[in-house]
Symmetry: C2
Subunit: 255 residues, 2 copies
């Protein structure tokens, strides 16, 4: 029975729609989006509500994600080996570099942030764990794509690369060449490609089978991360050695 269970797939599709930008959606909207009868969608929603995956706004009648998902998300983090193994190294990298640190994995052609350490001294920052950032405009994403070329091909084959700033790389061939460089040198960077005045540096993390399972990197204002529009060598060093340390902790053979 190599088939999937229809109702569960549909339920997941509903949850995915609800986790999209729209936050709150009504039965009719969902039904329209999925091409299903209202009644069917309602039945699924009732069940999802019963198990706490969605909640209904008493006033508008619309549905939104439920609290149970928050707890499950955090449980996922507890069981995530990449994150637990990387915790200490991420802290160390933040201290060394003086910048905020992020660890991410590829998820649906984007980068899912699984860990985030704030800048040591800094003012309040928003925690980004759980958020998705574009792969082609972040150092984390590039580091990951460089080791997953088949996935990169899929992404690049899609409907064009979104541009976030004038510096965003949207040319497929140029990005491909950049990925080649990254594979060769073992680190990736991005300067003003996602936010105009921000830059980032990242390196891939590999597991015991030498497959890339994530990436670790730092983010900060261009003037702190770069010198003459190029990432500062000492920061690159911090990032790559951190990545190697985490890889080793995950069982990768020492380099």
């Amino acid at each position: 029975m190599p088939g999937r269970i229809q109702s569960i797939e549909r339920a997941a599709a509903i949850l995915r729609l609800l986790s999209g930008r729209s936050r709150r959606l009504g039965v009719a909207e969902l039904a329209g989006e999925l091409g299903l009868p209202k009644g069917t969608v309602h039945g699924i929603l009732r069940t999802l509500q019963f198990v706490g995956f969605v909640e209904q706004d008493r006033e508008s009648g619309k549905y939104q994600l439920g609290a149970a998902l928050l707890h499950m998300g955090s449980s996922y983090l507890d069981g995530n080996e990449l994150r637990t193994r990387a915790l200490n190294w991420a802290d160390a990298l933040a201290t060394q570099s003086g910048e905020s640190v992020r660890i991410g994995t590829l998820h649906e052609n984007q980068v899912l942030i699984v860990h985030h350490v704030f800048r040591p001294d800094d003012s309040r920052q928003a925690l980004e764990v759980g958020s998705l950032v574009p792969a082609h405009a972040t150092a984390l994403g590039k580091a990951l794509l460089a080791s997953h070329r088949y996935l990169a091909a899929e992404l690049l084959g899609g409907d064009g690369l979104m541009s976030y700033t004038p510096a965003t790389v949207t040319d497929i061939y140029r990005l491909r060449r950049e990925l080649d460089d990254i594979s060769e040198h073992g680190w990736a960077s991005e300067v003003g490609e996602l936010y105009r005045d921000m830059a980032s540096i990242a390196a891939p993390i590999t597991d015991r089978r030498r497959v890339t399972v994530g990436a670790i990197g730092i983010t900060g204002p261009i003037e702190r991360l770069c010198e003459a529009a190029r990432p500062r060598p000492e920061l690159i060093g911090y990032v790559t050695t951190s990545a190697r340390s985490v890889s080793r902790e995950l069982g990768a053979l020492p380099w």
Copy 2:
């Protein structure tokens, strides 16, 4: 059709088991736990894997929660009105009190932490957003239970209250009396009842219909939060006014 969809309920039950302490579970274990045939469980797991809700460990064959849940959990936070409205007030309370701040809601007889601000100055702390803490041994939980007596009754009717330290209140009648006091005064506290040398103070947050939708509170070492084994009055003041501010922001009538 006031019925729920069986397969979705079962899928949710599987996810709940996987988010329990055990992290990784095999098909047989899950089947045993749920009293279902292995084949059935396997079909559900295959679907959940396809939609990214679970992942399978290549080596052991066991299943664990998937990355999609992390993103959904964080999407839940974005749409959570209580949290978004409380963000600034929580920061302010942390600054005022000098202690770490938590905001929680009741979820399955426990307190789900939906926001967490670290101590202003402090060393690294673990982010607790998404975790569940016991209701009867935390100030947050008591503040919530005091306004949901029917739920409190259910909790108290269960199989006894877990004891975490010698100070944990496990006597139902004593707790009930404490909840009465809390309702009357509008704030709750706990001294060494969850962790031996920690204390917490919390107050309920109400929405426009005057129903309690959450609670906000501070946590810290007893010697900082208390004076002569009683919560310091000025801290109580900070907490209660913060709670009122958030309530007002949620549309509650001004007091």
